[in-house]
Amino acid sequence: MNTVALRPPWRLFSLSAPAHFYRATEAVSPLLWATCLVLAAVGLWMGFVVAPTDATQGEAYRIIFIHVPAAWLSMVLYLAMAFWAVLGWAWKVRMASMLARAIAPTGALFTVVALWTGALWGKPTWGTYWVWDARLTSELILLFLYLGYLALVESIDEPRRGDQAGALLALVGAINVPVIYFSVKWWNTLHQGATVSMNAAPKMAGTMLTAMLLMTLACWAYAFAVVFARARAIAVEREAEHQWVAALTRPMEKSA
């Protein structure tokens, strides 16, 4: 089907062909990892060494340099997963479905990291690991949505059916995320009155913001790198019969 030797010119949808996707992402992979490591190193150094101690929260606030990017990515990745899954389902783009599957574990990981670091931050700041705050609760439900998606696609043996069922579930989940967020928010305000709010956090110093941005970019680079790697693995596994995979496994013979 896809002959590697031909190398057609790049077009907008070139990457939807698994063979092109494989080659392109493999090429940018070292760059992504390097970006991730460098930005993370600089970001952590700025966050933990350069940034000033917070006036009200002391040193404990520094966990936000990991917490905020993780929480942000956990939400964006769910939408990205739903997007690619639905694209793969509606237009039968094989690579999009594989990409959606590749995103799910990373999204779930970031959700866990966000919850975990949030709890660690909450203990010294709020005096408790967990409050039923709207954000925390909807993040927890987001984790359940990820787990549901993963469980569903894992328990369907046939890849295509798994992709499609996962796409439908991700779509319903994506529509439900705002509903869940607002329902939890109203529930919280109606039941507990004014709980601790993160909206009241003081304005950030410049270095803090820079550190946070660097860490966010580092997390993005990590997410891209690891999702691409996983997508490549899925592509090779699913398309083992295809010519382009066969060509990958014997590059030596070709050149010889």
Partner: protein, 243 residues
């Protein structure tokens, strides 16, 4: 059952009789599901028994203190109703899937979403409706009274169809899978969080001397959203499952 199978013969076998269908397939499907339920009364009453036992045993694990039970009662009853409604879901499409009726449903002339709606309606009549009727009685166990009982039942009346619709979607997605039972719970429960919040919230609002109307309105909005969207999604999910 044989009737629904024969009437749902492949479209090309008989000319489409669009004008006056003697009785729509979805009505027949609903009737058949209800009849099956009545023939297996013990099995059909299981969700209700589950609801009773869960709601009845909770105070033993918590406290017999009246004030506390009054506070947590609405939430506990709603959680029990949620679980009871989800209990019969794995079987919703499983039997039809096993004997091939589901494939005939997919092939029938009648839009699949109508059949999906009929299945969800049958599920609601079997699980949700009895819970609504029984809930005031259980509310009494938790010391709810007067308007609170009414709002509890009203909330369940609006909310349990949402459970059936979204639950049927989960059942359709997992049709034919080995671990369907546990999987449905994992898929569906997070999506039902808003229903739980507004349903229990309505009773709590009454207890706090506020109006239950906002909660019930939001619950109604959920129902409209679910009623509009899920039949098509269930139909899609069934197509995916049987492809």
């Amino acid at each position: 059952m044989s009737r629904s199978v024969t009437s749902a013969a492949p479209a090309d076998a008989c000319p489409p009789s669009k004008g006056v269908p003697a009785r729509s397939l979805s009505a027949a499907l609903l009737q058949r599901d209800l009849r099956l339920m009545l023939r297996r009364r013990g099995e059909a009453a299981l969700p209700l028994g589950f609801f009773l036992v869960v709601a009845g045993l909770q105070p033993l694990g918590i406290s017999p203190e009246a004030q506390l039970l009054r506070q947590i009662g609405p939430g506990l009853l709603w959680v029990a109703a949620l679980l009871a409604a989800l209990l019969p879901l794995p079987a919703l499409f499983a039997l039809d899937h096993a004997d091939g009726t589901l494939e005939q449903m997919l092939l029938s002339e009648e839009p699949l979403w109508q059949l999906a709606l009929a299945k969800a309606a049958a599920h609601w009549l079997g699980s949700g409706a009895p819970l609504v009727l029984l809930s005031p009685l259980l509310g009494l166990l938790y010391g709810l009274e007067g308007e609170e009982l009414l709002v509890l039942a009203l909330g369940l009346l609006i909310g349990t169809p949402v459970l059936s619709l979204i639950g049927a979607l989960g059942a359709a997605l997992t049709t034919g899978l080995r671990s369907a039972g546990a999987l449905i719970l994992l898929l569906v429960l997070p999506l039902l969080a808003p229903v739980l919040i507004f349903g229990a919230g309505a009773v709590l609002a009454v207890q706090a001397g506020q109006s239950a109307a906002p909660h019930l309105s939001l619950l109604g909005a959920e129902l409209i959203l679910a009623a509009v969207a899920t039949p098509f999604l269930i139909a899609q999910a069934l197509r995916i499952s049987l492809e």
